[in-house]
């Protein structure tokens, strides 16, 4: 047999997800911002369809995202989920949390080293939660905030008043405008919150992190190096990982899978003891489908910035691990059709491990919440992907055609992640997968992500990355020496 039969395992110590509920930043999402220029009257309609924090917390898809509901339990929840709130829902989850808008503004201000964010001192004093930290915040009066907004700063609303504002970083540089910097700083602040929360949940000192990889979707840089990057190091600093180095790994929505493979490789090579893979939320994608939601008289569901942090480390016996030598990448010359992607990202890695498509207990694909995408005509993305995998299994004689629906139900799941690009892309299932592996409910899971490289107009190519996770049979020592 090939050497792939002998697993190379890297431990997955834990994951933390966060949803920052920011209804009053929906207007700064790419689609709403463009539409509001043409139709300023839309603002009232938009404002009238925003959710409260309580509703966002009680939303079944969000409860699944942070670990309080399993994907199986979500399937049993009555739809539409936005009309059937989860009673007694908590903003604290098994492996995640929801952050309210006021707390997010404070995270944003704490992450700001260039006096971009000003908070209204009266608003801050009136906050009911979390105002006790000693970190430096730039506070101003309501009149000063109003004057800055008049001069071009972006308003940070809170109900009917201003909580603060966000100023541009440069008078002439189009890469340092207030909207771009808000997008970048929101990614930094949300990712740092996820990383800090992960450290707390693992009872690990941030100083013990060796390396941080960010797979966020922003482009940090000025006029001479647009997209220059390394938001990872800024996130690491914000989370107190002062001994860590870091860098970014990007490939559109496929970024998180690549970042995990790169991080695992740094550990396997012996260069790092551990690696944190992180991503912040995508401000640009807020309200992406808002017009369809308004037309259908639904609340605007794309009102959260989603983030995550994963810690990779040495494998531990009987604990969940990334099987590094199962990793598969979409090659330049490979087909970009759904079948071609499924062959390259599901069949190919399994084949080299001597496995069939039906040997995988659970597939993690792009887990976009269908309640967000179906009303806009974008379809049920996870279901489409699961049907493609099932069809491939039928073509290979591993499944009968009348078993396709069973395959979709038993080896797939209903989507529950907000449409935040890189966040729904398989990695959203990792928390549930770790639980299911530890409890013995599944023996493995194949994570598959896809990236739409063609959107950047540099190539017509797609991209993708996949890997298998399973429990390690051995701990580190026998893994590297045996």
């Amino acid at each position: 047999m090939s050497n792939f039969a002998r697993p190379v395992h890297i431990g997955i110590d834990g994951v933390f997800y966060s949803l920052a509920h920011v209804p009053q930043l929906v207007r700064f999402g790419s689609k709403p911002a463009r539409e509001l220029v043409d139709r300023p009257s839309l603002q009232d309609e938009l404002n009238g369809s925003l959710r409260s924090f309580t509703d966002a917390v009680a939303y079944a898809a969000h409860q699944t995202f942070i670990g309080n509901l399993t994907p199986e339990a979500l399937r049993a929840c009555k739809a539409p989920w936005f009309e059937n709130s989860i009673e007694g829902a908590s903003e604290k989850g098994r492996f995640g949390d929801l952050v309210d808008q006021g707390s997010f503004y404070r995270l944003l201000a704490q992450a700001d080293q260039f006096n971009l964010v000003s908070l209204d001192q009266q608003w801050l004093a009136g906050l009911s939660r979390g105002v006790s930290d000693g970190q430096r915040l730039q506070l101003r009066t309501s009149d000063q905030i109003a004057a800055l907004i008049q001069k071009g700063a972006l308003p940070l609303g809170s109900g009917k008043r201003m909580a603060g504002c966000f100023e541009p970083g440069h008078a002439e540089d189009v890469n340092l405008t207030a909207d771009i910097l808000l997008e970048n700083l929101a990614a930094k602040a949300t990712a740092a919150h996820a990383l800090s929360s992960l450290m707390a949940s693992l009872q690990m000192a941030p100083m013990d992190v060796d390396y941080v990889i960010s797979c966020s979707e922003e482009a940090v840089g000025d006029r001479y190096n647009r997209g220059g990057g390394n938001l990872a190091k800024a996130i690491a600093e914000q989370a107190g990982c002062m001994n860590a180095a870091g860098t970014d790994v990007k490939s559109f929505c496929a970024g998180p899978m690549y970042a995990m493979v790169h991080g695992a490789s740094l550990i396997q090579s012996g260069l790092c003891r551990n690696v944190a893979v992180v991503a912040g939320g995508s401000l640009a994608k807020l309200g992406m489908k808002f017009q369809s939601h308004l037309e259908k008289r639904m609340p605007i569901l794309e009102d959260v910035l989603a983030s995550f942090a994963v810690l990779l480390g040495p494998p531990k016996k009987n604990q969940p691990c990334l099987r590094l030598n199962s990793a598969s990448f979409h090659r330049v010359g490979a087909a970009s059709s759904p079948q071609g992607m499924a062959e390259g990202l599901a069949e190919a890695p399994l084949k080299k491990l001597g496995m069939k498509l039906t040997d995988v207990d659970r597939y993690a694909v792009e887990l976009h919440n269908p309640e967000i995408t179906v009303p806009s005509g974008s379809g049920d993305v996870p279901r489409t992907n699961y049907r493609t995998l099932a069809a491939l299994a039928v073509m290979r004689g591993q499944l009968k055609k009348d078993q396709m629906e069973d395959f979709v139900r038993d080896r797939g799941m209903v989507g529950y992640a907000p449409t935040q690009g890189h966040i729904p892309s398989a990695v959203s299932y990792l928390g549930h997968a770790l639980d299911a592996l530890r409890a013995g409910r599944i023996k493995n899971s194949l994570f598959i992500s896809k990236g739409s490289l063609f959107l950047g107009k540099m190539t017509q190519l797609s991209d993708g990355c996949s890997f298998l996770i399973e429990n390690a049979e051995e701990s580190w020592r026998s893994n590297v020496e045996g």
């Binding site: 970009s336 759904p338 974008s378 379809g379 993305v381 489409t384 992907n385 896809k450 739409s452 017509q460």
Partner: protein, 41 residues
């Protein structure tokens, strides 16, 4: 009948990519004046 007809081909990331549609249409005699692949999520 198809020869010279101008068409726009819009592909989808989870469906058929734009260049593939364009190639099929050109093979059938259409003139593809614009093709694109979109990602709707």
């Amino acid at each position: 009948m198809l020869k010279g007809k101008k068409v726009i081909a819009i592909g989808e990331r989870d469906g058929v990519p734009g260049p593939v549609i364009a190639e099929c249409l050109e093979g059938g005699g259409f003139e593809v004046v614009f093709q694109v692949t979109e990602c709707f999520v």
